[in-house]
């Protein structure tokens, strides 16, 4: 009886040790199986805290999620002049439609697309739209353009992980995918009453 | 040298169905390479199919046909074991002839 009692915690320790060893092997493999090519350096293979916490089928516990989200929230750059939606929706439309940029075949990290249509429906006339993210058709028509929704949308575009640590959406502003001016154009595409999104 | 075709022919109820898969770039002459140079046209212009020695199909091909063309057609007659011969010629004068037996 006593023997059995001891055996259980031992077995647990062993399985934890094996799991950590596997994790170390994965991290090593994610470096040794890759090579730098063009703008895609090996730095891309190293995880930050968010990536590490969200690399399993189950998200971290609620307290961890909140702590991570608060840290990401602090990384959002808000427009200094308070200009959230004053961009050109036509430019925003182009950015939303382009999925280009930042691969090892792309020359420079400038003029990237936002790749929005890869996952979201936006302009109802666009039929080739992804379904991983929610539909954004009629975005401002449905949600209005109050301060709260405008700020939330800017923040979500800049750093989606501030609102959901394990969101599938890239951190466009924080990750240097889109510039502040580009994000303002995408904001206009979502909020401008003349934008096809709101027709 | 041109690569071989894959030819399949099957007879059923007095009709033979022939399916041919050709290996060819079928370059239209309208495309440019990464250096901006026009890629010269290179496509099949003519295709013939024979059942034993009798011509059963003659077709004109052009630049609108896809890379690695696939062609299926039927003709009346044909017995198991008969010979099917398919030939093509392209605009560069290259050609290819392959044979198959009706199954």
């Amino acid at each position: 009886m006593k023997k059995l009692f001891i055996a259980v915690p031992l077995a647990l320790c062993a399985s934890v040790a094996v799991a950590d060893e596997l994790q170390a092997k994965v991290e090593e493999m994610m470096l040794s199986s890759f090579k730098a090519n063009g703008i895609a350096s090996l730095d891309r293979q190293k995880q930050d805290e968010i990536q590490q916490a969200c690399s399993s089928p189950t998200p971290p516990d609620a307290a961890t999620m909140q702590r991570l989200q608060a840290a990401e929230m602090a990384k959002i750059q808000w427009p200094a002049d308070g200009n959230y939606t004053g961009g050109d929706w036509k430019e925003g439309q182009k950015i939303a439609a382009s999925g280009r940029g930042l691969t090892w075949t792309d020359k420079t990290p400038n003029n990237n697309g936002g790749g929005c249509y890869n996952c979201h429906a936006m302009d109802p006339n666009e039929v080739s739209e992804g379904t991983i993210g929610p539909s954004l058709e009629g975005y401002a028509k449905l949600r209005g353009n109050g301060e709260e929704i405008v700020k939330y949308t800017w923040g979500k575009l800049w750093n989606s992980k501030a609102y959901h640590a394990c969101s599938d959406m890239p951190r466009n502003g924080y990750g240097g995918i889109l510039t502040e001016a580009q994000i303002r154009h995408v904001m206009a595409f979502l909020f401008d009453p003349a934008s096809p999104v709101n027709q | 040298m041109a690569s071989p075709m894959r030819i399949r022919a099957a007879a059923k109820d007095g009709v033979t169905e022939v399916r041919v898969l050709m290996s060819h770039v079928m370059e239209t002459g309208q495309r440019k390479d990464s250096a901006g140079e026009v890629i010269p046209a290179h496509f099949i212009t003519e295709l013939t199919a024979k059942h034993n020695d009798k011509l059963v199909l003659s077709a004109e091909f052009g630049p609108s046909v896809s890379t690695n063309p696939y062609l299926a057609f039927k003709f009346k007659g044909g017995e198991k074991g008969d010979k099917i011969t398919v030939s093509w010629v392209d605009n560069k004068g290259d050609s290819r002839t392959d044979e198959a037996q009706i199954a």
């Binding site: 891309r44 090892w104 992804g130 | 071989p4 894959r6």
Partner: protein, 265 residues
Amino acid sequence: MRKRIKAVAVCVGIALTAPASAQEELNFDAYREMLADGNPAELYEMEGEELWRTARGPNNATLEQCDLGLGAGVVAGAAAQLPRYFEDAGRVQDIETRLMYCMETLQGIPSKEIIDGKFLQGERAKLAALVAYVVTHSKGEKIAIDLSHPKVKEMYELGERTFYYRLGVMDFSCASCHSQDGKRIRATQLPNITTREGAAEGWGSWPAYRVSSSQFWTMQHRLWDCFRQQRAAEPIFGSDVIIALSTFMAGKGNGIEAKWPGVKR
């Protein structure tokens, strides 16, 4: 009043989207069926069969003595049981690394040439033709990789971790796109690789002929382009990460029929 407006909006939404998406899926299937009859992958298979039997390389040897896991020269059914652990090579190999190993040991063609080469070119293109030949002889076979082998099992587990491993400027992992049913990127339908059926669909339809580019892509080529779109650094040909992901997909799809070589838009 407010409720009524909402209800109208929902109805319009359904009326607009339902027929379009149903039609789309129908068209995809009909299109694939149409293509499958004259799948140009067969042309690569023919080339591969010839390459298998042709004496080549510094040793002027054929590949007819290549052991794909079922004994020297046995091609039938071999692809369905790969990746597997090979004692002689001392590692788990997929179909491509195994063929590369045979090309080096039997024919004397240096693996380095393939690893440092480019897809669709030179010896790597020849390797792809050989892949077409070998998988065709496992067409309709059930995927049956041996997960009871500790080295294969470890590769499976590494592959599973890799599948969920987020990285790079966009924080993507394989799971970002391939862990839910019925999702699309743009118009492209995505298999849910966390399910048995989805894993088999992904694993068992590559290598494939891609009609839009008139190119024959192997699984390594497919995964290499997945990593490019994931915004990762470039995976090395035949490296462990590719073997691990392959073992994960194949192992997850074990027992389901493979449809290779596939045909894709």
